[in-house]
């Protein structure tokens, strides 16, 4: 059965771009969610939009599940392969097709790396705003599929807010073109609907991105606080002042420890939490606003504040923050990255409760978060070699997510549902709402071949863990047909 399918796929691509050998498939088994892996039937590596369209249409014809993959950095299992399906790797569609500095737009293929857009735009004083921590390697296609965020979301929004146009091949095989180079559209926002579809609707082929002018001036401050509560208080004070910083981030002690080890950053000593605030704008505006910010920070009683003196220091502050997730690997190579959202004013309370719950579970938890918009990233550390440790970590993760829902937040701020959180979808949405989303999905993907087994709970569990049944399967939460 699969041989026939493979040969039909092989007729679409040169043999060396359809990977079927065991070592080739092994390399694609996971994405950024390391706890899961799944071996695909084959990996197709197209080099043009036409090849992608042919592949998707062939999959539709063969009823063959497929998973689109950029750099495989998803933290929710979004590009985790589906057993019995193929991976369509988009990394070689990596050209910037057009960059128009006057119109401030770029048209890119899905495999273009996030920072490459800003690098290409930089000589014109422009940049691409969404800046997830993985931006040095994650791709625009992935950013669109998961509506990736980053540190500047409160002021500038997420990836979807910067997509002006899309050409995509839907899982139904239809090729569509929506939007264009205008900031506005007439009629429903199709690009907006496609953003964050988690690969369930189809594959983007050409994406028109909005570029923003780089602010003239930045004022970035690192402030250390004795307690996490104080840091949270400081955020509330900043927000209440009417200032609109470009970014407000907090890292707790564990995360600081990791970041220090990774990039040799030097953080103020004796701090349980560090706050990063960044103002930006024309120099006259920043001059005035920074004075206000300084007053506010002073009143928040930090252990120490360190304003960046130049661009290099600013880069260093951000480098420490951006590597924090992966750096936690130094403290404990096994960990689960969470992505919950709580109303910002309840951030302090949320962190306290997370601390409490971790203690009860006997696990350590590092916290990095976009304090400006209440988006938490608890990193639950565990020892994979310890029997039952993964289960305990997953259980703690579940409790944290439920807490977010209970507080009126969300189970995911920017990583998406993917594989990892699908069993929590019914806790956020009613059966009717899930049915509505399933109907929508069916409109785009009638055969359910695009990234099946993701986002929606129940049904086929596409993942196999190395040691047999996944603990959630053992617990009866996930199941396989």
């Amino acid at each position: 059965m699969s041989d026939g399918v493979i040969s039909r796929l092989a007729s679409l691509l040169p043999r060396e771009r359809l990977l079927t050998h065991v070592e080739q498939l092994a390399a694609y088994e996971s994405d950024g969610l390391t706890a899961f892996h799944s071996r695909p039937l084959a990996v197709a590596i197209p080099e043009s939009a036409d090849e992608v369209i042919s592949l998707v249409r062939c999959c539709r014809q063969e009823r063959l599940p497929f998973v689109a993959r950029g750099s495989g950095t998803s933290l929710s299992g979004g590009s985790l392969p589906v057993a019995g399906g193929i991976v369509i790797a988009l990394n070689r569609l990596n050209r910037i097709l057009k960059l128009d500095p006057a119109l401030r737009i770029a048209v890119v293929e899905p495999g273009v790396v996030n920072t490459q857009v800003s690098m290409a735009a930089a000589p014109h004083g422009l940049h691409f705003s969404p800046d997830p921590s993985s931006q040095t390697i994650c791709t625009i296609g992935g950013n669109v599929a998961f509506n990736s965020g980053g540190a500047h979301c409160l002021k500038y929004g997420m990836t979807s807010n910067h997509v002006l146009g899309l050409k995509a091949v839907l899982a139904s095989g239809e090729v569509v073109e929506w939007g264009g180079t205008s900031r506005e559209t007439v009629g429903p926002d199709w690009c907006g609907l496609f953003g964050g579809n988690e690969g369930l609707f189809g594959i983007a082929l050409e994406i028109t991105l909005q570029l923003l002018q780089r602010a003239e001036c930045f004022h970035t401050v690192l402030a250390g606080y004795r307690t996490l509560e104080q840091a949270g208080e400081a955020v509330s004070m900043i927000v209440a002042s009417g200032l609109l910083p470009g970014a407000i981030e907090i890292m707790d002690a564990l995360a600081l420890e990791a970041a220090t080890a990774a990039v040799h950053a030097e953080y103020p000593r004796g701090c349980e939490a560090v706050l990063i605030v960044e103002l930006e704008g024309p120099r006259e505006t920043v001059e005035i606003e920074r004075a206000r910010l300084d007053d506010i920070l002073l009143a928040s009683k930090p252990v120490q504040t360190r304003p960046a003196q130049d661009a290099e220091e600013r880069q260093a502050i951000w480098k420490g923050r951006k590597c924090a997730f992966s750096a936690v690997g130094r403290l404990s190579p096994d960990f689960i990255v969470q992505d919950g959202v709580v109303p910002r004013r309840r951030l302090g309370e949320a962190l306290r409760r997370i601390g409490q719950m971790s203690k009860e579970a006997g696990l350590r938890c590092a916290n990095v978060f976009h304090a400006g918009d209440g988006n938490l990233h608890p990193l639950i550390l565990f020892k994979g070699s310890e029997p039952g440790a993964l289960e305990k970590a997953e259980a703690l993760a579940g409790r944290i997510l439920r807490m977010c829902i209970e507080m009126g937040g969300s189970i995911t701020g920017e990583h998406g549902i993917g594989v990892e959180k699908r069993q929590y979808l019914p806790e956020m949405f009613t059966a009717d709402e899930i049915d509505c989303m399933k109907r929508l999905r069916a409109a785009f993907d009638p055969l359910e071949i695009a990234n099946p087994g993701k986002m929606f709970p129940g049904g086929e569990a596409p993942v196999l863990q190395q040691r047999g049944l996944h603990p959630l399967e053992q617990a009866g939460v996930l199941s396989r047909e």
């Binding site: 065991v22 092994a26 390399a27 950024g32 040095t136 750096a327 936690v328 096994d334």
Partner: protein, 418 residues
């Protein structure tokens, strides 16, 4: 990531390898730094992918030969290490793995011959000299040479410089500020013996006495990086014996050698020489680091005019030894010098030990890209700290018909003194 590797079943190198696999969280940041991912665009040829393959082989879940092409294609440039937020010590995995793989990897007769030739000539300057001279002749008969050997022939210079006899002890000039032992390197002595001459001159001018131990030999890097553990250990032990302890530092002027010597503790792990190897490696410094720390007593005169020097970071200096600042600082000490940085500086030039012989297409692609970047700087000379890079870049600049001279950092300094 989680693994079921059993280090005790593997031997002394098992634990470092298992630890490296353990540290990887599969985040993918290394893909942005890996030259083979940039060239080949597939996950098996990335550090992350290679870690998975090596893990599965060590677990017994994947046959050795399946992993082979991708492990062979690894440059060993270690650009993945600074890019990795988790601090995966990739070097503790790749070279040990290659030593374990040696009996299992299949090689064609041509490959075997090439590897044999390389391992039997390059580490032995007198043999290599003969081979290089022969190569210079054989170059003209290129079409008749088996394809497996052609890349070797391509890299041999058309003329081999005259050998330079080095003093056993070079006295410090003026006030005595330090005493070092110099590793003279092997290929370097044949391909560009002036590098050692320049190194000694710069050191002695700055009051440093230079010992050149006679009993030394090849650092063992070539053997270690191509998986010949026994040979690597032999070379290592020889140098452990040859270098005495009454010097301030053991200096190297070839990045590949310095980095190999820093791994002696790994090569000799589980042997009786492990402890002294560990002590030894901590005394090894690249000459630029030693000099910069000591401080130049005499400021070079310079060319008396502005000079634009492009600096190429050898992977085994920048990534393996973390040395980036010191060579630049030394070069900037020359009056009038402006350092030109290369775009995509993190990408290997493709030399990578004998990589340009074993993986000629990838090496050529990287070499050409690097040469173009160098030419684009508009600099008047290219400086670097590794003979492999110098050879590769000379060859590829020549292919572009560029007359740009390629010099070792010590040669540039020495010339600036005169």
């Amino acid at each position: 990531m989680q693994h079921s590797i059993q280090p005790q079943k593997i031997g002394p190198l098992g634990e470092p390898m298992a630890h490296a696999v353990q540290a990887c969280v599969h985040c993918g940041f290394c893909l942005a730094a890996c030259p083979t991912y940039a060239e080949l665009g597939q996950e098996m040829d990335t550090p992350r992918g290679r870690i998975i393959l090596m893990k599965q082989v060590l677990e017994g879940n994947l046959p050795w030969e399946n992993a082979q092409p991708h492990i062979d294609r690894c440059l060993g440039c270690l650009a993945c290490e600074p890019a990795c937020p988790s601090g995966v010590p990739y070097r503790d995995l790749i070279s040990p793995f290659r030593t374990l793989a040696q009996p299992h990897f299949k090689r064609s007769p041509g490959e075997k011959l090439r590897r044999l030739l390389a391992s039997q000539t390059i580490p032995y300057p007198s043999r290599f000299r003969i081979a290089a001279l022969a190569g210079g002749v054989v170059k003209k008969l290129r079409p008749l040479i088996p394809s497996a050997l052609r890349p070797m022939v391509d890299l041999v210079p058309s003329s081999v410089p005259r050998a330079q006899k080095l003093p056993r002890i070079a006295a410090a000039i003026g006030e005595h500020r330090g005493r070092v032992a110099l590793l003279t390197g092997c290929a370097q002595q044949v391909l560009d013996p002036d590098i050692n001459v320049a190194t000694i001159e710069v050191l002695t001018r700055n009051g440093v006495e230079v010992i050149v131990p006679e009993a030394q030999g090849c650092c063992g890097g070539l053997a270690w990086h191509t998986g010949d553990l026994e040979a690597a250990r032999r070379f290592a032990r020889k140098n452990l014996d040859a270098f005495s302890s009454d010097v301030d530092a053991i200096v190297t002027n070839a990045a590949g050698c310095g980095s190999a010597m820093h791994e002696y503790h790994l090569m000799l792990r589980g042997t009786e020489d492990e402890k002294r190897a560990d002590v030894f490696r901590k005394r090894v410094l690249d000459v630029s680091v030693f000099l910069q720390r000591l401080g130049l007593r005499e400021i070079p005169r310079g060319a008396g005019r502005p000079q634009r020097i492009a600096y190429h970071d050898a992977c085994h200096l920048a990534n393996a030894q973390g040395v980036r600042r010191e060579p630049r600082q030394l070069l900037r000490a020359i009056p009038g010098v402006e350092i030109c940085e290369l775009t995509d500086a993190h990408l290997c030039c493709g030399s990578a030990g004998t990589y340009n012989i074993d993986q000629p297409e990838i090496a050529a692609s990287l070499g050409e890209k690097k040469a173009r970047v160098v030419v684009a700087t508009g600099a008047e000379v290219l400086a670097s700290g590794n003979i492999g890079c110098l050879t590769q870049l000379r060859a590829h600049l020549a292919k572009l018909d560029s007359p740009l001279p390629v010099r070792h950092t010590m040669q540039v300094l020495r010339d600036a003194y005169r």
